[in-house]
């Protein structure tokens, strides 16, 4: 299922070329305030939030779109999704639970390679 682009996104498209990003954001807010009735504000979807699950996926809920680099919506069948971050899923971008088999550990940091560490220390 694909969600049609919401109003504010269209507004951003129209103004993107002429305005800086900050201006565009400002315009978005104004446009939204003008167009949105009070009941819509209450009914409207919450902004997207991401839960970084320890040793697991990124849980995303709220108002968001997942698109390919060309802007084509990625098929999405549920409101809240889990995005793979261990790299092992067979159904990317979604999680399929493979992190559990991989013993994926979000607390473990990859050691910084010596040359990079040295450069950072000298800087």
């Amino acid at each position: 299922m694909t969600a049609p682009a919401a109003g504010p996104v269209d507004a951003e498209d129209a103004t993107q070329d002429a305005l800086t990003e900050a201006d565009a954001e400002q315009a978005d807010v104004q446009a939204e305030e003008e167009e949105t009735d009070a009941w819509k504000t209450r009914e409207g979807a919450a902004p997207a939030s991401i839960v970084a699950c320890p040793n697991g996926p990124l849980l995303v809920r709220g108002d968001f779109e997942i698109v390919t680099p060309d802007g084509v919506p990625v098929p999405r069948d549920r409101e809240t999704v889990a995005l793979c971050r261990c790299g092992g899923s067979a159904i990317k971008p979604y999680c399929d639970g493979t992190h559990k088999l991989m013993k994926f550990d979000t607390a473990r940091r990859r050691p910084v390679p010596a040359p990079a560490r040295k450069a950072a220390e000298e800087a």
Binding site: V51, C53, P54, N55, G56, P57, L59, R61, D77, R78, E79, T80, V81, A82, A90, I91, Y94, C95, D96, G97, T98, K100, L101
Partner: protein, 361 residues
Amino acid sequence: MKIPAPRGPVSATLIDLLRNRGGTGHANAYGSLNLLLDEALAATADLLRDEDLQLTLFCLYELHYSGLDGVEDAAEWDPELIRVRARLETAFEDVLRRAVPVPELPAPESEAVAETLFRLAADDDGPSVSRFVASKASVEQLREFLILRSVYQLKEADPHSWAIPRLPVGRAKAALIEIQADEYGGGRVERMHSKLFGTTMEGLGLDSGYGYYIDQVPALTLASSNAMSLFGLNRRLRGAIAGHLAAFEMTSSIPNSFYARGFRRHGFSDDVTYYFDEHVEADAVHEQIAARDLAGGLAEAEPDLLADIIFGAATVLAIDALLGEEQLNAWQAGESALLPLVNDGGPAAPAVTAAAGGVTS
């Protein structure tokens, strides 16, 4: 659902009583039901595998779900039947409390509870029906697999929905609603998980009517469903039903990818495997919410429920291990995992005629 065939004196008496509620000899029927129950409870060697008693409990619970054909809806709250149910439940819960191994309790904090549950699920090394289905099961065995699962899957999510009004306002309730809404298709009937399972059954030539195969389903599978109803229908066990759902979700996404593989191996279409494919993705989401927000959130809100949350989760793993062992033993011996049909009124079942023919590698 249709009234099942009785499996012993207790279920026979109950079914007779349900059919003739309000008729003459009514009061006597309750008396003999209670007497027979006393005897059966005292005599049973293994309540989890007791065909007569698990079917009796299943029928009593069914009055709270879709009801039994020809039985008055009012039977659901018949005080005498509730009393019988409560006595059976006490014995059943007692067996579960003694038989289910429970790990050391974590702190009643969300992340600690989630960690304990994930570890419990990861350490589960019970017999793997999913691996057998993926690589070895014949089409007949796939049908048996679906028939056994249909007891729960055709009313998928319902037993856990009992918990919704029983949880306090807050994180745990919000989590349960979020999971259940997805289970019921997020407002789209064609995406309801119970509906998808019916489509999979039909793809293998099976009847997707709820309870159609009940007479072929052994006690242990009924016990697995009865445990959910026990936890869901008793407010005092709301911790156990929350833990049950969490463990259920946490042991689902990877096995479901194996099930899908088993059905694809025999050339079944995406329509048939969709139920399993959907669960790979859905339950990878649900397990995160169920572990932290439902089970963990409830432990934080009501720390007294912590032990039951873990007990409910451990119950899933313990019963699954017993079920897996029973099914694999039957299949590996070239036998059917279903009960043989004893009466002519049962389903004409191509699914049980050729138990293990054509096992492919």
